[in-house]
């Protein structure tokens, strides 16, 4: 069972790491948001799965509280991360940061 916990935590760490690397390597703010939002949210899901599995295997008196509160924290992350990314993207476009190397930009023509 401990191997499964190691595997889940490893996947979570890997995706979080790739999110951070993407944040450093991508060329403009929109692509950076892609890396940040998707990879860190997905990595967090796997970390919380590892926590839940660990609590399930080593059940003790406050395991119920720990696992339930972890799930609530995960739900808060899943709801707030995309909404925050959406807010930053819109604010960036309205404050005059345009996508680099863009093939098409339909949002350019919209009047504000």
């Amino acid at each position: 069972m401990i191997e499964v916990i190691y595997a889940l935590a490893g996947i979570g760490i890997l995706f979080n790491f790739l999110g951070g690397i993407g944040l450093v390597r991508f060329p403009d703010v929109y692509t950076r948001l892609h890396a940040e939002t998707k990879c860190t949210t997905f990595g967090s899901i796997f970390i919380v799965l590892a926590i839940l599995l660990y609590e399930l295997v080593n059940w003790s008196t406050n395991s119920w509280v720990m696992s339930f509160h972890s799930i609530i924290a995960l739900i808060a992350l899943i709801i707030t991360n995309p909404a925050g990314a959406h807010a930053i993207a819109r604010a960036a476009h309205r404050s005059g940061v345009h996508p680099k190397e863009a093939v098409v930009d339909s949002y350019e023509k919209v009047k504000r």
């Binding site: 951070g20 944040l23 970390i47 808060a76 909404a83 960036a92 940061v97």
Partner: protein, 85 residues
Amino acid sequence: MNMLFLGIGSILASFILLPLVRMISGPTIPDRVVALDAMNTFVVVSMLCFGLGYNSPIYIDVAIVYALLSYVTTLYIAKYLEGSL
């Protein structure tokens, strides 16, 4: 004490250095806000792991409040950048 999750939490906390690079070198303000958002996510996840490592549920409660408050911060800065504040 639980060395496995303390180790995972330490690794995740060390990833905060990556957004820090972007936050210092980011050419525009939205870049820095994105870096702040990523840092907040890493802090929340590593706090969950530390809560398990020290076996105290209070860390996890703090993580929930931190996640919600960081979302409010992000929305506030975004509002300010749009110029509608």
